[in-house]
Amino acid sequence: MLSNYEVLAHIQDVKQKYKEEAVEQGPAATMKPGNLETVMKELVDYLSSTVAASQNPETILKLVHRLAKFPFEKVEVLMIINHQPKSETELDVLIEELDSRLSDDQISEVLEVLQGVSGAKIDSLVAEGL
């Protein structure tokens, strides 16, 4: 399983590689297959509108470490990374039976952790008056 961020990073790598090859060998020798071009563009469009665009390996690693003490399944952690829920309702959608598995204190702790990781971005949005 890959997180959205990993896929986005991989596509950007592929694009970069094609660019470098074009410099070395001339543009004609390195024409990309048309279907690849299409799917890469559409996927980048989609992923840029998600939180993946503002993530990097360090923040994801930090998030995973901090979530390790909660009783989440692997796929649940993956969904939390992909969505970065901001409220309890959003978290409740991702995690089955959230209420019975975690206490209220733990839930607010999870939300705090998520807030902390994406905090920098929210601060900048507040600064812009959004």
């Binding site: 399983m1 890959l2 997180s3 959205n4 990993e6 896929v7 991989h10 596509i11 592929v14 090859e21 060998q25 020798a29 390195t30 990309k32 297959p33 279907n35 690849l36 299409t38 799917v39 890469m40 559409e42 996927l43 469009d45 989609y46 998600t50 796929v75 969904m79 992909n82 969505h83 409220s87 309702t89 959003e90 409740d92 959608v93 991702l94 089955e96």
Partner: protein, 194 residues
């Protein structure tokens, strides 16, 4: 949402491609063959992830093509059942909502999987959710919605012998890969509501 899948395939490099490095020629071949295509029971292939191993090239007699067995990994779009995704409403009918992601269009939310109390407004051609408090919330076109994946459907569209095929028109062709979603839990639905 995305998984890695390991595949093996026999690839052919034509003599015209001998000038470019073998690795690059193979990567192009794999991407041409799989990118943006649905693999039956696997999912929608996005692009090559990496090449695991490849055999020595063998030249077939008569053509001059080099044949290479390659083992590689692909990035594949295959959300698991129960996964929550976000997409946009592309179309509403009295049967339900059609959702699209930028790269994948075949997602359908049947009316039975919408919130209790949802009704289709024929004049406006939108679904309206009347909440218990009496509020009216609209599933407008192009609105970003969060939904849960409930089912997946693969259809094998391998061409059949024209003699055996009955008079099914091409219009009846089903998409090779289709997702059925749901939207009946608080937190799901238009993202701006929550």
């Amino acid at each position: 949402m995305f998984i890695l899948t390991r595949l093996t395939d026999l690839l052919t490099i034509q003599p015209t491609s001998f000038t470019i490095p073998t690795r690059q020629a193979l990567e192009d071949q794999i991407n041409t063959r799989y990118a943006n295509k649905v693999i039956h029971k696997v999912g929608l292939a996005i692009c090559l992830y990496d090449i695991v191993k490849s055999s020595d090239g063998l030249i077939g007699s008569g053509t001059g093509n080099v044949n290479i067995n390659v083992e590689f990994r692909l990035v594949v779009f295959r959300p698991f059942k129960g996964e929550v995704l976000t997409g946009r409403i592309s179309n509403s009918t009295h049967q339900g909502l059609h959702i699209r992601l930028d790269f994948f269009d075949e997602i359908f939310i049947p009316k039975d999987y919408l919130f209790e109390g949802s009704q289709f407004d024929h004049n406006e051609q939108v679904w309206v959710w009347r909440t218990e408090d009496g509020d009216e919330l609209f599933f407008d076109k192009n609105e970003t919605v969060r939904f849960r994946v409930e089912e997946e459907e693969f259809t094998d569209n391998t061409p059949v012998d024209p003699a055996l095929r009955d008079s099914l028109a091409d219009a009846d062709m089903k998409p090779p890969y289709k997702l059925i979603g749901s939207c009946y839990q608080s937190g799901l639905g238009v993202v701006a509501w929550w």
